[in-house]
């Protein structure tokens, strides 16, 4: 085996970082969709990712459905979970304060995790890669075909969301709720339905993240919390509420972890990402692309 050059090593760190970061970015986008409409940080976001992975394994491996059918069925099921979450846990809360709502999402995440461990047990599950496991060599760095799927789905998600929010009536209505819920309801937008839609959408995106990452990293019932924390970090780093910010934040977090692990110390790699996050926050308190005005309007 030939020795790997430094340039190839750096390229490898970048590719790995971008792949891992894409998953964080998708989680962060999910956070933002709900945050924009409701001001809630949905700590169950990571559980959507976990559910996406595990349900996909069930559909594709246990039921033997073809990839595309299993993919769609999984997304529909996880979206339903998102809708149920809003109807059963978020909407019934009387006089909601933001902290109460956050605690409710934590309760939901505990419930989902407990149910998943009851259904699937504690062991990890594997999903076949979408287009085989034969790695491609590129300038001395190795790329798994699944990496393309992860990064590709992030791009698809980003494009689809920007079209949805900029070009469609419903999307514009949701953005209106984000800017000012009272004004939105005055002009006849059903804010409750928009909130429901935001939960459905972000559950679907979480499911996509889970489906695409499972062939790389396996999936088990308690993976959600850590992904939620990293995704939250990415969303904050980019600026809460900003979709380009979420994607940028996710990719930066993933890359710092990867380069930190490769070049400095793998034990402290998670700490590097968080230290960078803290430093950025201290200098730019609303994240890279967040606007200070919006964070003023949002109550806590």
């Amino acid at each position: 085996m030939e020795k790997i050059t430094l340039a190839s090593q750096l390229l490898q760190y970048l590719i790995t970082g971008l792949t891992v970061g894409s998953v964080y970015a998708m989680v962060a986008v999910g956070f933002n969709i709900i945050y924009n409409v409701t001001e809630i940080i949905n700590f169950a976001q990571g559980e959507f990712v976990m559910l996406g992975g595990l349900i996909m394994v069930f559909m594709n491996v246990a039921m033997g459905l073809p990839l595309i059918l299993a993919f769609l069925a999984t997304i529909i099921l996880v979206t339903l979970v998102g809708i149920l979450m809003d109807r059963l846990a978020i909407r019934p809360i009387r006089r909601p304060s933001v902290l109460t709502l956050i605690i409710a999402t934590i309760a939901v995440s505990i419930l989902i995790k407990g149910t998943a461990s009851f259904i699937w047990g504690k062991d990890p599950f594997d999903l076949p890669a979408f287009s085989g496991r034969n790695p491609i060599t590129f300038l001395g760095a190795v790329v798994q075909p699944q990496y393309f799927w992860v990064i590709g789905f992030l791009i698809v998600t980003a494009v689809a969301l920007s079209i949805f929010f900029d070009r469609t009536i419903i999307g514009k209505a949701m953005s209106a709720c984000a800017d000012n819920p009272n004004a939105a309801s005055l002009v006849g937008i059903n804010v409750k339905q928009m909130i429901l839609l935001s939960f459905a959408l972000s559950a679907a995106i979480g499911a996509v993240a889970g489906i695409t990452v499972t062939p790389i990293s396996l999936m088990e019932y308690d993976r959600g919390a850590m992904l939620a924390v990293k995704g939250f970090g990415a969303a904050i780093l980019g600026g809460l509420g900003s979709f380009p910010g979420a994607i940028l934040g996710g990719l930066i977090m993933g890359s710092i972890e990867s380069f930190g692990a490769g070049l400095i110390s793998s034990g402290y790699k998670d700490a590097f990402a968080l230290i960078v996050l803290l430093v950025i926050l201290f200098f730019k308190p609303s994240g890279l692309l967040g606007s200070i005005e919006i964070s003023r309007i949002k109550r806590f």
Partner: protein, 389 residues
């Protein structure tokens, strides 16, 4: 308003029931043994098979008429891998449930945490965790009076791996470990024993238990070109790590895993990538491979068959520690009754106990009773284990 009323009444009933259930107690004419395992939480890979194993064993013993005609009553608590819960559970077993011996905890750290409790309350504790420190009091240089353990120490697994490497003429190695108690303990033994075997550790990489990818760490190792990699982890990361190793085209560098790799489930999850991976395993994981005249053959085959039949899942490396611990206590109960001191004295003198993970010979200086011979090196071949040498 009614909804709230119902809710409040339900809550009261609920706690009332809890009190009632907790009062149901004591089966006349029984031996009470306590167990604390990390059945859920971060170390469920240890506690879950341990709990299933001891429940199965207790059922079997009671079906065969119990011990000396008395029922074996097992009280199992789940510590969830949490020091506070573990401490509370052991104290509760001793003071409220009044058990005559405790088996567990599953984790080394938690076992160390409850040693003072066992010593203070003069109750035999048979730990199911690996660390050497559990049976070695650094202040006196001797074992703790009341504490025993059944798993091989990590140092034995490390010695088995290093001996194998040395025989192959390999000295330049890279190590990888997961940042949990399991990984950290393996890592410190790997570093501590390296000079003894002339091993030169050129890279020491780590990853988190929930990481999705270890390509970065392996790329760094690839750049340093070691002659072998030793990885110490458990759970999904050890499988992901193997896949990354294969994808990066590093199969020319032999990969050694810890004994935690000892479940066929891991080979299956690696989806073909585990071919050629080496690891040290105890007898119960390779029961089928043992020669018919091996002293542990019948014990391990029996366990393997009944476990897989009952729970319909492959045997892990760790359930056997629970088997050894409970069977030891059961032997002590049938020979010495349920006096705590008598159990302890019996265990300390026990010789030639044929268990799942080896043949135990206890003594006042050795409360573990195993030697390096308890491990055999195996290799993954055609998606199954095969003995090396």
């Amino acid at each position: 308003m009614t909804l709230r009323r119902i809710f409040i009444i339900a809550t009261i009933c609920f706690f009332g029931m809890g009190l009632l259930i907790s009062q149901a107690n004591a089966f006349k004419g029984s031996y009470k043994v306590g167990a604390v395992f990390s059945v859920t939480g971060r170390a469920s890979f240890l506690g879950d098979p341990e709990k299933k194993t001891v429940e199965m064993l207790a059922e079997k013993i009671n079906a065969a008429g119990g011990i000396n005609g008395k029922k074996l009553e097992l009280v199992i608590y789940d510590d969830e891998g949490d020091a506070t819960k573990c401490n509370l559970a052991v104290k509760k077993l001793i003071t409220r449930d009044k058990v005559c011996a405790v088996i567990g905890p599953s984790l080394s750290g938690l076992s160390l945490a409850v040693i003072p409790v066992a010593e203070q309350n003069k109750t035999p504790l048979v730990s199911c965790a690996a660390s050497y420190k559990i049976v070695h009091n650094e202040k006196t240089g001797k074992p703790y009076h009341w504490v025993f353990k059944t798993p091989q120490s990590d140092s034995m697994a490390v010695k088995a791996i290093y001996t194998h490497l040395k025989n192959r003429g390999i000295t330049k190695i890279a190590i990888m470990s997961v940042t949990t108690g399991y990984g950290a303990s393996g890592r410190s033994e790997l570093i501590r024993l390296a000079p003894e075997f002339n091993m030169n550790i050129i890279a020491d990489e780590k990853y988190g238990p929930k990481d999705t990818d270890m390509t970065a760490q392996l790329t760094k190792i690839k750049g340093m070109a070691p002659a072998a990699i030793v990885n110490w982890s458990i759970g999904p990361t050890q499988v992901t790590m193997i896949r990354n190793w294969k994808d990066l085209g590093m199969t020319a560098i032999p990969l050694y895993q810890s004994h935690g790799f000892g479940s066929r489930k891991n080979i299956e999850l690696a989806a073909g990538a585990a071919e050629g991976v080496l690891c040290p395993l105890g007898a119960c994981n390779i029961a089928e491979l043992l020669p018919a005249d091996h002293p542990q053959k019948s014990v391990t085959m029996d366990y393997l068959k009944s476990y897989t039949a009952k729970y319909n899942e492959p045997l892990s490396s760790f359930g056997g520690h629970g088997w050894d611990a409970l069977q030891l206590v059961v032997d002590a109960l049938s020979a010495a009754g349920d006096d705590k001191a008598a159990i302890r004295d019996y265990l300390e003198k026990k010789k030639g106990f044929v268990g799942q993970h080896g043949i135990f010979n206890f003594s006042p200086d050795d409360h573990n009773g195993l030697t390096k011979a308890a491990f055999s090196m195996v290799i993954v071949k055609d998606n199954d284990w095969a003995l090396v040498d």
